[in-house]
Subunit: 427 residues, 2 copies
């Protein structure tokens, strides 16, 4: 009889319940692969009464004091599914300090305090894994840190927030307004009552910070990321995109050049033929461009109890394998380099502008002159007259810097009777 | 000064040249990640004269006798890119026996002699990795053996042959015939002069055998796979698919039920909305359905010197990491179970039938009766009259067994004046 891997879990919400429900099958798999027996020894909950039925069904030992897990010397692995910064941060820190391996799905925490916790893990020769924190069921972090680590990644971009993708899909397919799409997503449980973190792109920023660390070994802060949510996306923007051959998606991007990295979250125009354009509803997908492989994409469910719980248990299985081979305590992401940021004003992109202009002679010449002054050329232009004396003009440009874009915007706004309705980055 | 990882390579064709060209950058990455220095110590070629310029440019030491690599005690890792069964098999066997770790891209060999070579690797506590053998640049094998190993895979299917996908894309988009598409693929170097292995689905069968081992721990033989190539796919089949909302792709499938596994390679109808439908040209993509994650997909280049070389070097990097942590000699795929096959006649699928029928009363009733006798229901039906006395009928059914399909086919052929033009599985 060998040693048993004893697991303690902090939290028993949606994802925690998923872990409990998958655990029996998982335990069999771990035994099959590593020969190691494992058990879910204790689960911390705030209110044990509310979880009584679930605990009885799965023969769980509930505790209402986290210390009973963190200070228990027989517990080897702690799964943290509380979410948020505190008390999760303190609990994880204490667990690492007492030599326990930690698995977490907490993107807020790992994006904001990852470095500190990783340092603590290293000092205590413990594993700290968090595959489930980015794109739920897609094993993107381990893929980058193992399979892609011999390659040189140039850019990582994708759909990393299921809530907003669900809303934008509904706005595109069913023609809903932003408000209608939000209400529908809330009704179905895809959006929270306070949807700020999702719709303002904050959740996506956390994930891009973690992806940046894995792709380039660089640690960036929340304020280093340019961020725009989807709250201002209108039905007419989506229609205009469609006419030009695009769909609008909330895209997180992290790219590297000789100057440094630039990380961005914003709704962008994506050509309908791009593999990301057909990623619908709550699905996530991450596109990677690297020197060796070229283009690759990883697609799967971005959230949900079962996919997230599976990613958590996959991390625990990795710990079990490393335990068997005595290889524990390696960093999850493979390397670190000094962080260098591309100055925001010199990040480059193609842009879409939507303007209404007076339907009069010379207006196109003025637009053309503005573009020429900034030495930016146009890729596509589409005009529709919608009243006797006004027209709607949609422009798609070739590449320019953010500084050029801002000059162009200011110049457009200086023309009398011209209104800039919207502008988006184009992928 | 630590130990240096010394690598010998057998072969310097397209992929071998890719390895040589990527090596300098790769060496830097390995050092950054593991602290280990590495070098490409010797390369075996049949004719050193023809490779002289390349060797000089990259300061390679060429040898024309494989023994100089295999018997060299200072070589730690052997990369095999000769292809084919012999002499690759003997060379890999000898390398493993003398304690060298082996990386290969050889799908023919690993599909046919994988078990034997893996056993040899195990006996000698050596690594034997072959990520590049399936879907070139897509890290699908390591993803299955690490991230997905805590999950229960139910089915793996996808586009695993770039040549045929390139041809079918061309037939779909440009309306080429099979022969025209083949000539074009040969002209561009996507198809070989003897295209049999690709167009008859044999290459795809090799890859599905390897994927079956990784997904279910089961070892199957070539004859266990039902196989159909694309040589009989006509422009009118593709048009008929389009009208019904499908595209035709050569799909490899490996699925498991309580009865066992069933592995199949065939051109199939895929709904246009399915993520695999937009995988074009020489790209590959593998779709996985598992209990925990649900649906996930892995997309990337299926072949090409640089992607394949990157996968090979990623395997070598894994060896370097495991070398550093003393964890070498683990099996690449995670587990083995007894192989159980679903009897071919009871494998299930939806089917498309294309018939020409006399344009007369009662013919639809006959078709309906045949379906009813087999207790199979229809999902879609499309009829076009193409001459005063004949019509083309396209049927798509709900699920049935292969045995039922064969009964239906026989019954159709028994109706006077009915011709069965084609039938395909529908995904």
């Amino acid at each position: 009889m060998g040693k048993k891997l004893r697991i303690g879990m902090l939290g028993l919400g949606t994802v925690g319940t998923g872990v409990v429900e998958l655990f029996e099958n998982y335990r069999y798999k771990v035994q099959q692969i590593t020969g190691l027996d494992s058990c879910l020894a204790k689960v911390f909950v705030r209110n044990s009464h509310r979880k009584k039925a679930l605990a009885e069904r799965h023969h769980l030992t509930l505790v209402t004091d986290m210390a009973e897990i963190i200070n228990d010397p027989t517990i080897d692995v702690v799964i943290e599914v509380l979410g948020g910064i505190e008390p999760a941060k303190t609990a994880i820190s204490q667990a690492l300090k007492s030599g326990k391996h930690v698995v977490t799905a907490n993107k807020d925490l790992m994006a904001q305090c990852g470095i500190e916790l990783q340092q603590l893990a290293k000092e205590n020769a413990c594993a700290l894994y968090y595959e489930a924190s980015v794109a739920g069921g897609i094993p993107i972090l381990r893929t980058i840190s193992s399979s892609l680590s011999s390659d040189a990644i140039e850019i990582v971009y994708g759909i990393v927030n299921g809530t907003t993708n669900y809303m934008l899909t509904n706005m595109t397919i069913s023609g809903l307004t932003y408000q209608e799409a939000l209400l529908e997503a809330q009704r179905l449980g895809f959006a929270e009552q306070d949807p700020t973190n999702d719709v303002e792109g904050i959740d996506a920023v956390y994930k891009m910070i973690i992806l940046t660390q894995f792709a380039y070994g660089m640690t960036i802060k929340i304020d280093d990321v340019t961020r725009q949510g989807i709250t201002h996306v209108t039905a007419s923007d989506i229609q205009s995109a469609r006419k030009l051959g695009y769909v609008i998606k909330l895209i997180g991007t992290t790219l590297i050049t000789k100057e440094g990295v630039a990380v961005d979250v914003a709704p962008v125009f994506i050509a309908k033929t791009h593999p990301l354009a057909s990623v619908s509803n709550e699905m996530n997908a991450i596109f990677v461009k690297s020197t060796g492989i070229g283009e690759s994409m990883y697609y799967g469910p971005g959230a949900g109890a079962t996919p997230t719980a599976t990613s958590i248990l996959s991390d625990v299985l990795t710990i079990a394998k490393e335990w068997q081979s005595g290889r524990l305590g390696q960093s999850f992401h493979t390397f670190d380099t000094d962080t260098k940021l591309i100055p925001k004003k010199s990040t480059r992109g193609k842009y879409y502008f939507s303007l209404s202009v007076p339907d009069e002679m010379g207006i196109f010449k003025k637009i053309a002159e503005i573009m020429e002054n900034q030495q930016v050329s146009l890729k596509q232009i589409n005009q529709e007259v919608f009243s006797p004396d006004a027209a709607h003009v949609a422009l798609i440009t070739h590449e320019m810097t953010l500084a050029q874009r801002d000059c162009i915007l200011a110049a457009f706004r200086d023309i009398p009777d011209v209104v800039v309705h919207a502008y988006y980055k184009v992928l």
